[in-house]
């Protein structure tokens, strides 16, 4: 049930109607929880047990950690982390580990007979496990107090707008919104929600899904195409993944706003970044800040010397890459970003600045980010290598096919970035001619520009 589907529209309408009828604030919270349960169960009801377990287990561990003292407190946190990461490992990484061990053994000349398990990846597991884990870590660190109302904590875990693809929310940001106020529908929230939802829909359906028509065939058969086409596909993918993921986030924030909840920003025009550090301040902010606060800092951050800082960056980004999926190409992608961040830190120490340096930094960063996206998107290292060879104009020949909508979409993305450099909130004034014009023009765009076959959201797989 994706946000851009008819079943979701029906689900949302029914939920809003039910909440409008309900008088009791607690009943409205229960209805929102039931909506989350239905939303997740609609995909696969069997995994409700898993997410339900997380909501009970971490709630109980949070209380226990808060009560405990000394080594017991640390031991309870360790239990929480082991159980949460264990769930992630079993459902997401077990087959990858088995395959990797078997592959390594084969390199050494030993060919064990291994069998992988038919494990279905629960949708959104990477997101809700990280959120639940951060709740207990924050309690351990004394940053928040545990919540004693399970309903509130369950709403945190089952809050459907961000359940399957983020943004990753923190208990400190979300739980006060559940505890301290009633959930109610307001016209102002609805208007702002509609604007955000429409923006996300345009990004997803008009830009990302259209670009997928260029990206998918080229990444599937890179050797068939010439260098110009491969370059277009790589730039197209950079735009596609941004519009796909930030479009989903906009819709998620919009739907959350409909119920009066504020979710964190997840993107801040990442392709305006002038260096890789800046890029990670702007890209998937909820994940990068999570990795910073709960992994990089825990490893020692930059408190243990330059060499250790670089190592910490590399380890953090390697694991960040692995978070995206159980595949070596994500590990390489993360590793490359780790190396890039360390290299930037090294260069940045020399100081300097100015517009020329910014322009050079922007070009270098974009080139590096695009090259990294090749590993993120390619289905094998062989194909990634072919793509990079074509990008370097080695073996540049092949079919020249640059999908014509690529150019206007690229132009629109550039204009969008330049117009919104200040990062102010997008809002349509839905009382004025200009606001309605943008609304209806966007609606026509979505209707006519949407490809016949909708693409799934890229980040649903993580």
């Amino acid at each position: 049930m994706t946000f851009s589907s008819l079943p979701f529209a029906l689900f949302l309408a029914v939920l809003l109607a039910a909440m409008a009828i309900a008088r009791d604030p607690r009943a409205r919270k229960l209805l929102l929880l039931a909506g989350g349960v239905f939303f997740y169960g609609f995909w696969n009801w069997r995994f409700l047990l898993l997410i339900g377990f997380t909501s009970v287990f971490d709630f109980a561990l949070g209380l226990a950690i808060h009560r405990a003292r000394g080594r017991r407190r640390k031991a309870l946190l360790a239990v929480d982390i082991v159980v949460n990461l264990g769930l992630l490992c079993v459902f997401k990484y077990l087959n990858f580990l088995i395959g990797s061990v078997a592959g390594a053994a084969a390199l050494l000349g030993w060919h064990p007979h291994v069998r992988t398990l038919a494990i279905v990846l629960p949708i959104g597991i990477s997101f809700f496990v990280f959120e639940a884990m951060s709740y207990c870590i924050d309690i351990y660190r004394g940053r928040i107090a545990p919540y004693r109302n399970w309903l509130h904590f369950a709403l945190f875990i089952f809050f459907f707008p961000r359940m399957v693809a983020g943004p990753i929310i923190r208990a400190a940001d979300f739980l006060p919104q559940v505890r301290d106020r009633d959930i109610h529908f307001t016209v102002d929230n609805a208007r702002r929600a509609a604007c955000l939802f429409l923006l996300g829909l345009v990004k997803k359906v008009v830009v990302a899904d259209r670009l997928a028509l260029l990206v998918d065939p080229v990444f599937a058969h890179p050797s068939a195409f010439d260098s110009a086409t491969v370059w277009a596909a790589v730039i197209g993918y950079a735009l596609q993944i941004f519009c796909d993921f930030s479009g989903y986030t906009d819709m998620a924030i919009g739907v959350a706003r409909l119920f009066g909840f504020e979710l964190p920003l997840n993107f801040r025009l990442p392709y305006l970044a002038t260096d890789l550090t800046d890029f990670w301040r702007r890209w998937h902010i909820s994940l990068s800040s999570w990795l910073r606060d709960y992994l990089y800092v825990s490893l020692g951050g930059n408190r243990k010397g330059a060499a250790r800082t670089y190592l910490n960056l590399l380890v953090t980004m390697l694991l960040g890459g692995l978070w995206h999926g159980a595949s070596w190409n994500f590990v390489v992608w993360g590793g490359l970003h780790g190396v890039g961040l360390a290299a930037h830190k090294l260069v940045a120490r020399r100081g300097g600045g100015g517009p020329l340096r910014d322009a050079l930094g922007w070009a270098t960063t974009m080139l590096y980010v695009c090259a990294c996206w090749v590993f993120f998107r390619a289905t094998s290292f062989t194909k990634a290598w072919v793509m990079l060879s074509k990008m370097a104009f080695v073996d540049a020949g092949g079919v020249r096919w640059i999908y014509r909508p690529f150019w206007p979409l690229l132009g629109a993305a550039v204009i969008w970035h330049l117009l919104r450099r200040d990062g102010e909130h997008f809002e349509l004034p839905l009382t004025s001619y200009r606001g309605f014009l943008l609304l209806f023009a966007s609606a026509w765009l979505v209707f006519f520009a949407a490809p016949v076959e909708a693409q799934p959201f890229i980040y649903f797989q993580f």
Binding site: A172, L265, S289, L313, G398, P405, T431, F440
Partner: protein
């Protein structure tokens, strides 16, 4: 939360202790002055009209003009005779229709002495709206056949039942000496095609079900569906928004209809019927051409090898020359790294309709066959 000493992702716009959520809240808009409901309604209506007009202009510029059509009592909904249609949804070209509603310069009512005429029957690959009037394989074939007139009778979405019926309807006026039946693997096997069920597109057609023997059936009149909605029909001919909107909605509803697996025995009987009928009409001077639709870049067969074998066998049994473009298309991709199908505004690049290279290849391969066929 203490100030983060690790500058890696510290956001300069984010003061210490202020979460992203707080920043989001800070960006919340200030309340706007209230406007009267009437003013808001007027603004909404005016904006809708402007957006729709903009969509109309944009569609005409970048996608195409609305299709203008006439209702023919025999052939159903046909392009308006003498009209032109510009389309950019695939390729970019203007197609001019003749007095018969065919994408063709037209045939003279009086057949000049010595002129030999060939009627080419097919679907949208033959009609070829995506390439210029002079670049489709019928025109290219005509240039290769000195003194011959090649009539393009291709029509989008036609299946064998409509092709055979069209030949019978056109023959008294066109008086062709030979016919070329240009088919895709699905041309004889798609009675389950959801388009067949669209009342109004056809007036009459040969229905092959259930035993493969064609029976002429008349549907409920040309344009029957739209005739029930005359205002919509008129708008559909004038407005790109309505034309594409209705078409788009129908496409989204119908595109997922499953195609049943082919019954090869039934398929063979359909081919036999069509060839027999055409051979009777043109004195045996008929050729059969197959345009396979395989993914050349992916190296995937279109799964029609079995149907190609049936077509080949049926043609041999009927004494009809058979041309499969499978190998010529593969050779174009292999030797030239070019594609016979597709344009730079459709995806993937090796599907869709024939491009200029594909049309040239068909004309090259077909010219000697038609040359031998003509008296």
């Amino acid at each position: 939360m203490p100030r983060n000493p690790f500058e890696w992702t510290a956001n300069p716009a984010q003061p210490a202790g202020v979460s992203e959520v707080t920043i989001a809240r800070a960006g919340a808009p200030v309340p706007r002055p209230r406007r009267s409901a009437a003013r808001v309604l007027v603004a909404a209506v005016a904006a809708f009209a402007t957006a729709t007009a903009g969509a109309e202009v944009a569609l005409r510029l970048f996608v195409g003009e609305p299709h203008r059509y006439a209702d023919d009592p025999e052939r159903g909904r046909i392009p308006l005779p003498g009209s032109a249609h510009w389309q950019g949804a695939e390729g970019r070209a203007t197609a001019h229709y003749d007095a018969l509603g065919l994408h063709d310069p037209g045939v003279r009512a009086t057949k000049p002495a010595g002129e030999r005429r060939v009627l080419v029957l097919g679907d949208s690959l033959t009609e070829a709206l995506e390439v210029g009037d002079d670049d489709n394989f019928c025109r290219l074939l005509e240039r290769r056949l000195a003194g011959a007139k090649v009539v393009n009778a291709g029509r989008m979405a036609y299946l064998a039942g409509e092709m055979v019926h069209t030949a019978e309807v056109l023959q008294p006026g066109v008086r062709a000496d030979a016919a070329v039946l240009v088919v895709r693997p699905s041309t004889f096997g798609d009675d389950g095609d959801p388009r067949v069920a669209l009342p109004g597109y056809w007036a009459a057609r040969y229905d092959f079900s259930p035993d493969g023997e064609g029976r002429l059936v008349r549907l409920d009149g040309a344009g029957a569906t739209l005739k029930r909605f005359p205002r919509l029909a008129a708008l559909k001919q004038r407005s790109a928004v309505v034309d594409l909107g209705v078409g788009e909605a129908a496409r989204r509803l119908l595109v997922t209809a499953p195609t049943p697996p082919p019954d090869l025995a039934l398929y063979r009987r359909r081919v036999d019927f069509a060839l027999r009928r055409l051979a009777r009409l043109y004195g045996g001077r008929v050729a059969l051409v197959l345009l396979p639709h395989e993914r050349l870049i992916a190296g995937d067969s279109d799964g029609s090898d079995d149907r190609e074998a049936v077509l080949r066998a049926a043609a041999a049994a009927a004494g009809v020359p058979f041309l499969s473009m499978r190998e010529p298309f593969r050779a174009i991709y292999r030797d030239e790294r070019r594609l016979p199908f597709g344009f730079d505004n459709v995806s993937p690049p090796d599907v869709g309709h024939l491009n200029v290279r594909g049309h040239r290849a068909v004309a090259d391969a077909l010219a000697p066959i038609v040359g031998r066929l003509l008296p």
